[in-house]
Homo-oligomer: 263 residues x 2
């Protein structure tokens, strides 16, 4: 532990997501800036805790920082549509939105097991993104869709999302695009919110310590029983073979929650 560390004592258990500007993601040991580290939830195993930081930071920053959604349950909070909600980010975003905000949470998932998982995470409603979404939304008795979080295959769904979103609504996006044509958002004056979880470390922003604060809050919410881990599988031992197996599972596109590797 470095001499200048102020937020932690030697021997404390921590969790964090790191940064792609430093090597070590698949290694036994990493070096990490303390401003990006939180106290590990004491109620979770190391593997269960390891499932959370990357996705929790992404979901938290997208929901509260990028879009400015307020915590609490104010009247007229509208609905949040989460596209591709059974994956890692969706699984924690459903929980955050359902437990900490007044938004009506509509998740999308295309298989019975992913739909069931989204309901268990806390979604008020689940629709199927492999079928036309606007009529499924119209059939629900919910407030207007003021926020959308599109977590995967945004380009494929964009026309439907523009149709669904309320005028002056907010579209949050986290997936990668060579090009992203935002012109169709103009008529409804819809805002586009990118969330790239590595923006703070990449640009060494003045508020880098914000990631410490978020992870600390996530940890407390887990220990209070308000949030749960999104780990659905744990592969052992920590070896090149299990690493390759983990990549095969993730790349299959059928992930539910988060897969973790452990010693």
């Amino acid at each position: 532990m470095g001499d200048a560390v102020e937020l932690f004592r030697p021997g404390e258990d921590v969790f964090y997501c790191g940064t792609f500007t430093r090597s070590g993601a698949n290694a036994d040991c990493h070096l990490v800036d303390e401003r990006m580290v939180g106290k590990k939830p004491s109620s979770l195993s190391f593997a269960e805790a390891a499932a959370l930081p990357l996705t929790s930071l992404t979901a938290w920053q997208l929901l509260f920082d990028r879009r400015g959604v307020r915590m609490g349950k104010p009247p007229g909070a509208g609905s949040l549509l989460i596209v591709g909600a059974a994956g890692g980010v969706g699984s924690i975003l459903i929980q955050l939105a359902r437990r900490l905000t007044g938004l009506t949470v509509v998740a999308t998932a295309s298989r019975p097991e992913t739909q069931d998982w989204c309901r268990r995470m806390g979604a008020h409603h689940v629709i199927d993104h492999s079928r036309p979404m606007p009529p499924q939304i119209a059939a629900l008795d919910i407030p207007p869709v003021s926020c959308i979080a599109s977590l995967t295959q945004t380009a494929k769904h964009l026309a439907a999302l523009v149709e669904i979103v309320k005028p002056h609504g907010k579209l949050g996006v986290i997936d990668d695009h060579d090009h992203f044509d935002a012109a169709p958002l103009k008529a409804k004056s819809v805002s586009l919110h990118w969330e790239m979880v590595f923006t703070r470390p990449l640009y060494q922003t003045a508020d880098l310590i914000g990631q410490h604060h978020i992870l600390t809050e996530i940890s407390e919410l887990v220990d209070a029983g308000i949030l749960r881990t999104t780990m659905t599988r744990c592969l052992t031992p920590f070896s090149p073979d299990t690493l390759a197996e983990a990549h095969r599972i993730v790349e299959s596109g059928g992930m539910i929650g988060k897969i973790v590797m452990s010693r």
Copy 2:
């Protein structure tokens, strides 16, 4: 005046911007929904007042509603860069940001007369968008550029704007684009805010009356001497010839402020 009108009495002087879903923009008489109408500033002539509604609504909604900038002068408010600031929207946006917020206002204009106009509207600094902008911004002793309002030729300036904007900053855009590639905004998690002033009437939103409230506030700020008209020319009489002349002037691309036609 319709029987159901509640916000105005017969004979009251009003100003408004109308909607492109109703005919009449170049006619003597229009029909307009009262929820989009405000009381005319009593300190201005009809021509001076007519310069304001379309641009004031666009600038107000972009600044306060789309981006969530707060009124008042909080510390750490950052800087607002307004690209193409000498036109109609820029001329009122400079005033709103300078008088009602704590943002440091940097306007861009490429000619001595437009640069001088931006300073008279209230810009703290003026830079030249016909020369590379990042070094000009870097040479100013200002807070980070947290907000950009790009009012014209956004495609031409986009790479420079992405370089200038602070991580997690906000880019507001009002000009028309066949395609608008928003992918370059991802690395800094920059939000894109469209403002299309006709979104409320086009979609008959529940908050349509918001335009009445904004115009009423604009009117009061004008009469209090806080905002001034942006009219720079008034063409008379109201005829097909002067209408054609007005279009020629606007289409020349060299407009300062707003041109008005009057009887």
